[in-house]
């Protein structure tokens, strides 16, 4: 009895295992939805992407993952890809796809919505929001006026042991890449050597740095601006001891990095995809980024109603082609050489 049952079970299992793919293969058809690969986290952008269906008049299907992994996946998929729009956490991944000829040039009226420098020079991607490098500081230990204003002042011996950083974090690596891109590898190498000689305190991530500054454990920390605003929103401004400072200079200390979108060259829904890109630059979406994720809107005239963000145009920032932040491998090599990886 038991034996025949087991053998039948095995036979059935084998039949099912073989049949499932066949049935699915027959049933599958070309997706008629607008397919978005989102390298931005579901928890951050789902509320605004949920509104795309109404905005574009098309069914929308969003796939979430990591930006760099999506870039690799899209490169493997090549011309066969089903994706229509790529929403990336950083310009580097978009730059890699543009270089492979996989992104179309966006319509000029979409590109014109953002200031120059916030879209690819060849028009293959456009920024949807920005984030600024800031210095978090403990006002009980340091006055804002004394804070370093340039990269060279950061490595001044007077800050020895007083700066927190997150060496494995993407935001720190993009910051170092921008130093390389703007001032060359030699300068970056020397700067990193001095930075290390200054005995900075390492942390796991930006949240940990801000927590330590807030607790007075380290006077200064190099972070992205929105971590501060999220903390303030969660705990109330009066309960947060740490403050942040925008260097407002022309070097990497004032780097503005972006998240952005590109439309796939082989999209069969290119119209809807362009509409989606335009929607992400609409006032509604820009306000969502400003209020919901405390990022910088990239369209002028939209300001956050929840967070006290200084206007984007007041931050200056270095003149840099953000696509070039994709050259991360050399950065990792430099960091390793400097003993900061």
């Amino acid at each position: 009895m038991a034996r025949s049952f087991l053998s039948k079970l095995t036979a059935c299992a084998a039949a099912v295992a073989l049949a499932v793919p066949l049935v699915t293969a027959c049933g599958a058809s070309e997706s008629d939805a607008l397919v978005i690969y989102s390298g931005r986290n579901e928890g951050l952008v789902k509320p605004i992407l949920d509104k795309l269906q109404a905005a574009t008049g098309t069914k929308v299907e969003v796939r979430y993952g990591g930006s760099a992994e999506f870039a690799s996946q899209l490169l493997e998929e090549g011309d066969n890809t089903d994706a229509d729009l790529f929403f990336s956490q950083d310009a580097g991944a978009l730059g890699a796809l543009a270089q492979a000829g996989m992104l179309e040039k966006l319509p000029q009226d979409v590109l014109d919505l953002v200031p120059a420098g916030f879209h690819a020079k060849d028009g293959t991607w456009v920024a949807t929001s920005a984030r600024a490098r800031v210095i978090a500081f403990d006002p009980k230990q340091v006055k804002e006026a004394e804070l370093p204003a340039t990269l060279d002042e950061v490595v001044d011996p007077k800050w020895k042991g007083k700066i927190g950083y997150a060496p494995t974090n993407g935001s720190w690596q993009a910051f170092v890449t921008s130093i390389r891109v703007l001032k060359g590898d030699d300068y970056a190498r020397q700067w990193l050597a001095k930075f290390r000689a200054n005995e900075p305190q390492r942390f796991e991530n930006n949240i940990a740095i801000l927590g330590a500054v807030n607790a007075g454990q380290v006077p200064l920390g190099l972070i992205n601006h929105y971590y501060y605003f999220e903390k303030v929103a969660e705990e109330g401004a009066q309960n947060v001891r740490a403050k942040i400072h925008f260097a407002r200079g022309a070097d990497s200390l004032s780097l503005l990095n972006v998240a952005g979108v590109g439309v796939l060259e082989n999209s069969n829904k290119a119209d809807a995809a362009r509409k989606a890109a335009a929607f992400l630059l609409s006032e509604e979406a820009q306000r969502y980024f400003a209020d919901g994720t405390a990022e910088y809107p990239v369209v002028e005239g939209v300001a956050s109603t929840e967070h006290d963000l200084p206007p984007l145009s007041s931050l200056k920032g270095p003149d840099i082609d953000l696509s070039q932040l994709s050259s991360l491998e050399e950065t990792l090599k430099l960091l390793q050489e400097a003993g900061l990886s």
Partner: protein, 529 residues
């Protein structure tokens, strides 16, 4: 026919001649399927020409990565062998207090994903970063790969050999080293092979511990330069290392395989007597507790901490949905993997020869590769060859099979080897056809062993992340992908319930596995052939 005569005959005739064409064909087909990612990697390595491929290969960096990964794999495997054999012996042979409970608890670390263990350790003790941390975490999550087969071997080996040694005046310790250790050696080596391959393929623990192992090099190539060629070259090197390790293990095991497996007396298996620990009992108990505290206590305590500070309420339907998706894809993954492992395992157990050796070796090729590499290979092949299946469950399930085939092949091989050939011969002599004999005689006898293999594959699929992210159907979230998504934005409180449920889902098969092994001698890693 005497066993000796059978062996001589097998030596004289190539094994393939006696396997039915259907079985041999199925075995070869599985071997070829398992080699698909490697084929892709070779093609990708050379897509910019031979010169580029070789210049990428002959770099100092390749050697650096190789040395680091080899050192880590060697150290973790050695530690797992010591911990796995000692703890197996304690729960099977010693009078350790509460050894039944320890028997269950010792297998549970299998359920803890390396990225969860890595995360808890690095957040509690940041100074562990580097080799130490990677070594610690990987040892703690992978020693059960050695423990499980050794428990099975201890259960099935003949106690009479030990008794002979004791009667000849050897003490308990010398008997352990002279007899017991040699009896479990094949099982321990087979488990050690799985540990070594697992360490080579792991990305979660080494990246959290910032130890630049081979897989980190591969990921960096994808993530930091969006360049797939160096990643493919490194992947090929990893496959070569895996093949070399597998061959070394096979030789080592081949020499040791026969020791103590022939029973001194014929007849029913007899339980070995309990060895009193005497004065060593408190130390053994302390060691067992310490192992559990490190391997289970630390991750569980950390999860409880995060659960308690998670302020927002849990989205229960979402959590249950992810749990269901995990059960579904992992269950299908285990099913397909075992089905594909059947011909390979039967060939290896019944028809030793060049063909079965090659097919078995081929099935190990994908196991040392990180999930992202196998995943991207199937992205490339899937979208071109089977566009209807791309980003559908079947392709994801196939990826699991390629990644985890060795876990099931070992189980099938031992299970089938444990089913007496004579019963098959009886069935054939009664006029049953070969396939019917297999289905009605061999597989039912081998079923417990095969089920143990399925359990191992199931829990490994449940923990898999990178290939799942690439290949899952759009909108399908598993516990692992949800855990990743929540931790990526630092929502550890929201991530904790997913980690907890994932560990529970993976713990159930690991308990079942442990139970199987304690009650019936089955060896999922296939050490005891």
């Amino acid at each position: 026919m005497t066993p000796g005569g059978r062996r001589r005959l097998q030596g004289a005739l190539p094994g393939v001649l006696r396997a039915s064409p259907g079985l041999a064909g199925a075995g070869v087909a599985v071997g070829v399927a398992a080699l698909l990612p490697l084929g892709y990697l070779v093609a990708r390595s050379f897509d910019r020409g031979t010169d580029v491929a070789f210049s990428l290969l002959w770099r100092e960096r390749t050697l650096e990565l190789l040395v680091r990964s080899a050192a880590l794999a060697g150290a973790v495997t050695a530690a797992c062998l010591v911990i796995g054999v000692l703890s197996a012996w304690l729960i099977v042979r010693s009078d350790l207090p509460g050894r039944r409970i320890f028997g269950v608890l010792f297998t549970l670390p299998l359920a803890v994903p390396s990225y969860v263990a890595g995360f808890t350790w690095i957040s509690e003790l940041p100074e562990l970063a580097g080799f130490t941390g990677a070594f610690l975490v990987l040892t703690l999550v992978s020693y059960p790969y050695v423990l499980l087969p050794v428990v099975a071997a201890l259960k099935s080996s003949d106690p009479a050999v030990e008794e002979v040694a004791r009667s000849l005046g050897k003490g308990a310790v010398r008997t352990f080293f002279l007899v017991t250790l040699r009896q479990v050696r094949p099982a321990a080596l087979a488990g050690g092979l799985l540990v070594a391959l697992y360490v080579l393929s792991d990305f979660g623990a080494v990246s959290l511990m910032r130890f630049e192992a081979f897989t980190v090099g591969i990921y960096t190539s994808y993530r930091a330069s969006f360049d797939r060629t160096p990643a493919a070259v490194l992947g090929c090197v990893l496959v070569a290392v895996a093949v070399a390790i597998t061959l070394v293990e096979r030789r080592a095991r081949g020499k040791a395989a026969t020791f103590g497996q022939a029973r001194v007396g014929a007849g029913a298996a007899r339980e070995a007597g309990v060895v009193p620990l005497g004065k060593a009992r408190p130390a053994a108990l302390a060691g067992a507790v310490a192992l559990l505290v490190l391997a289970l206590g630390v991750p569980v305590a950390s999860l409880v901490h995060w659960l308690s500070i998670g302020r927002r309420t849990v989205d229960l339907p979402r959590l249950l949905g992810a749990a269901w998706s995990t059960l579904e894809v992992s269950g299908l993954g285990a099913l397909l993997t075992v089905l594909l492992a059947l011909p390979v395992g039967v060939l290896a157990a019944r028809y030793p020869g060049r063909l079965s050796r090659s097919v078995e070796l081929a099935s190990f090729a994908g196991h040392a590769l990180p999930g992202i590499t196998v995943g991207l290979a199937l992205v490339f092949l899937g979208i071109r060859l089977l566009p209807g299946l791309y980003q559908e469950t079947p392709l994801l399930v196939f990826a699991y099979a390629v990644l985890f085939l060795p876990l099931a092949v070992g189980a099938v091989r031992t299970g089938v080897a444990a089913a007496p050939v004579r019963l098959e011969e009886v069935s054939r002599s009664l006029g049953k056809r070969r396939l019917e004999t297999r289905l009605r005689v061999t597989f039912p006898l081998a079923a417990p062993g095969i089920a143990a293999g399925a359990a191992l594959v199931f829990l490994t699929c449940a923990k898999e992340l990178p290939a799942t992210l690439l290949l899952r159907p759009t909108g399908t979230d598993t516990l692992a992908t949800e855990l990743w998504s929540k931790t990526e934005i630092g929502s550890f409180g929201a991530a904790a319930p997913y980690a907890a449920v994932l560990i529970v889902v993976a713990a159930v098969p690991s308990v079942v596995l442990g139970h199987f092994l304690r009650t019936r001698a089955i060896d999922p890693a296939g050490g005891n052939r």
